[in-house]
């Protein structure tokens, strides 16, 4: 028996040698990510999975967003903004080439934005760029953009994956054969399995440390665990919190616990009684025990929030103390609102782990103050139809994952139906303000109004928990924008 085992072992070891398995060398990395992107064109789809692979790796925009969520120069090395805030003049980097060897210049910038704004554009966020009235090529390295109204976060929007610069010759093939200006060039996509990028040698910017990066698509957490333990992958950007215990205290791995742009809320239908009553919403806010929800739904990794804003953002203000957990107060407020015995409502839950876990905890917390929740689990398409499109719901739980999505609250037709003219005017002023200090002040005001009005139950910021080989450095802890930026990742000596 022993000889047989040995023989099998030998045969397999031999075939390992022959197969030359891709063991991580000092300049290559294999990363496990949960979802395979449907295409690789970030300008033609909303899927986060696209940005995870291509954003700032294959494709770059005029500006880029850094780990802190701040705007940095990208393909534009500098810019000037006219006094009325309506004309932006960008000075482009010299000596930039696309991965097919063609030269990047102002014509490519004009082409990329004309493409976003075209009638038949399939850009997922065309609305961000609609204020652009014209893009003019001044000279090969200078571009002028005219806006028809001020947008305060225009430079941020230019740094999104939706606004990366593509070349006219290759744009139509980017879905399967992406060609950009970034530090990594597309090498190969084995559908259903992996995408391989390799460092682009004549890259214009700071040279990157890796020569090759492979994204391996693994959706199941248990499978991902085995792949990490077996060394088949060197890390993953977001690992299920429920299974992190396997890696805690293991010196071969580092756990990077940070935040994402996802504000998880108890979505409340403000159009509908009794939720149109401020006292009822305040009572619900007092009934929530955030820490218990965070412990139960994110295994302690979530960050509490008190309004619709990400804690890692420079404009963030901590409003978690607005309505502290207080059962007696909640009951009193319900009585004042005319519901001394509480009421019954439904809670529609999309099929997401954080939603179903939070839902059960919230149901028991609400029961303590007399609000009886009926939990209804629905499929995601059904959720979109019932809650998002038809607004047929009382309460729901969902994470809003876009950066700066506080603007949704200025849309009275949005699913939670918050209609506050004062807030709408404030957002309009904020959108039209470019001065940083002023913007911060307005953003804080906006957050405070939402917290005071208890529009939705503000639960926690969705965590991002990466698990990486302990010898790797340079990964982003927080995710202020959708992406997995390879630029600074390297193996320690």
């Amino acid at each position: 028996m022993n000889t047989i085992t040995k023989a099998i072992g030998l045969a397999l070891a031999l075939s390992t040698a022959l197969a030359g398995v891709a063991m991580a060398q000092s300049t290559e990395v294999r990363i496990g990510v949960a979802l395979e992107p449907p295409t690789l064109d970030p300008t033609a789809g909303a899927a986060e999975a696209i940005d995870i692979v291509v954003y700032q790796n294959i494709f770059e925009g005029l500006t880029r967003i850094d780990e802190a969520g701040a705007v940095q120069p990208g393909l534009a090395e500098s810019w000037t903004i006219s006094d009325d805030g309506l004309t932006y003049t960008f000075k482009l980097h010299d000596g930039v080439t696309f991965h097919d060897g063609s030269t990047f210049d102002a014509e490519d910038v004009k082409f990329s934005f004309d493409r976003i704004l075209a009638e038949d554009s399939v850009n997922a966020h065309k609305e961000f760029y609609e204020p652009i009235s014209s893009v003019t090529v001044v000279d090969p390295l200078t571009v002028e953009m005219k806006l028809d109204r001020q947008i305060g976060r225009f430079l941020f929007d230019l740094g999104r994956g939706d606004a990366v610069i593509v070349a006219p010759e290759s744009a139509d093939n980017n879905a399967n054969q992406p060609i950009g200006t970034g530090p990594f060039a597309f090498l190969q996509w084995d559908k259903g399995s992996r995408v391989i990028l390799e460092a682009y040698q004549p890259y214009w910017g700071e040279p990157v440390h890796l020569t090759k990066a492979t994204y391996v698509f693994i959706s199941d957490t248990a499978t991902l665990t085995n792949a990490l333990l077996a060394g088949d992958i060197d890390g993953t950007n977001n690992f299920g919190q429920e299974a992190l215990g396997v890696f805690e205290g293991n010196p071969q791995f580092t756990i990077l616990a940070g935040t994402t742009e996802g504000e998880t809320i108890l979505g409340t239908n403000n159009r509908k009684a009794p939720f149109d009553n401020l006292k009822v919403r305040q009572a619900m806010a007092h009934a929530l025990d955030r820490q218990a929800i965070i412990d139960g739904a994110t295994y302690g990794y979530g960050t509490p929030i008190g309004s619709a804003f990400a804690p890692h953002n420079a404009y963030y203000v901590d409003l978690t103390g607005t309505y502290p957990h207080d059962v007696a107060k909640a009951k009193a407020l319900l009585a004042e609102a005319g519901y001394p015995d509480g009421f019954s409502a439904t809670l529609k839950l999309p099929p997401l782990a954080y939603a179903s876990l939070s839902g059960q905890i919230i149901a028991s917390q609400f029961a303590e103050v007399g609000i009886k929740l009926e939990l209804i689990n629905v499929e995601f398409a059904q959720w979109l139809e019932d809650v998002y499109t038809n607004k047929d719901f009382d309460l729901t739980i969902i994470s809003h994952v876009e950066p700066f999505d506080i603007g949704n609250y200025a849309n009275p037709d949005y699913y939670f139906g918050y209609d506050n003219p004062e807030f709408q005017a404030l957002i309009e002023t904020l959108n039209g303000t470019t001065d940083e200090a002023k913007r911060k002040e307005l953003a804080i005001q906006a957050q405070t109004i939402l917290a005071d009005d208890a529009v939705n139950g503000y639960l926690f910021q969705l965590p991002q928990t990466g698990v990486w080989n302990a010898k790797l450095t340079g990964m982003w802890k927080d995710s202020p924008i959708e992406g997995l930026v390879l630029r600074d990742i390297r193996w320690a000596e």
Binding site: L18, N226, A381, L384
Partner: protein, 316 residues
Amino acid sequence: MILFSLRRFIGFAVTLLVAALVIFWLLDLLPGDPAQFVLGINATPESVARLRLQMGLDVPAPERFVGWIWGMLGGDFGVSYTQRAPVSELIWGRLGVTLPLSVFAMVISVVVGLPLGILAARRRGKPLDTVVMIVAQTGIAIPNFWFGMLLTLLFAVTLRWLPPGGFTPWHENPGAAFRGLILPSLALALPQASILARVMRTALVDVTSQDYIRTARAKGLTLGQAVWRHGVRNALLPVLTILGLQFAFLVAGTIIVENVFYLPGLGRLILTAILERDLILVRGATIILILAVTATMLLTDLAYALVDPRLRERSA
């Protein structure tokens, strides 16, 4: 024989058509707008309406059904909503994994299951029989995804002999591609091998008590010779039927096993398509699977008729 084949063939075609109708109808009944689903919660109503039009969802269902069937007859399965590539191309690209995986699993289950069944039958009532049957019963009871996990833990995580999953394309490195399929085929084969072992044992035990075995013994053969010459061949008939049926289970098993071992096969394609509401891809891939399963049934029926002349005569 011709009449028999013809009848089976008509049955096959009708089954396919009914299956196509059911798939189409069921997926059409699903709540939710596929266009909204693709674009997500930040899309404007105009872009959703535009995509609906692009997807052809404004056409009435019966018309879409006929168009779908007609297209498939000409090899056109439509274009995937999410991946924007022809469905036939997507499916074709995945067969290089799923086909070898199912074949390996089938071969392993036959090579392991049948001899164990024969062995157990020959030692009926002895300790070896009991051991084989306990192992087989366990094999049937263990879900293959869990068994796959155990295999990975042992051979990939602890011993590091084999990769924990993933797949290197055949043209790139056939050795690595083969290694990638070893653990998944084992996981997939375990329950099938166990079933085959049990069926083989029972069939052989039945056969051993038949008159013709006794006659063979009377003519001077030892029991072993008699069973081998006359018993096994007759016992194979029920085994063949089970084997045909098992193909359907194998195909269903690939959906789970391919996800456990992150293999880019048809099963994973279907699961992703379902999660992303890519109805046209789900329909196309399901039809291909049904085609494969019903075609196997048809072949099994025909093979059965070839092996057993009684059946042929009775049906004709």
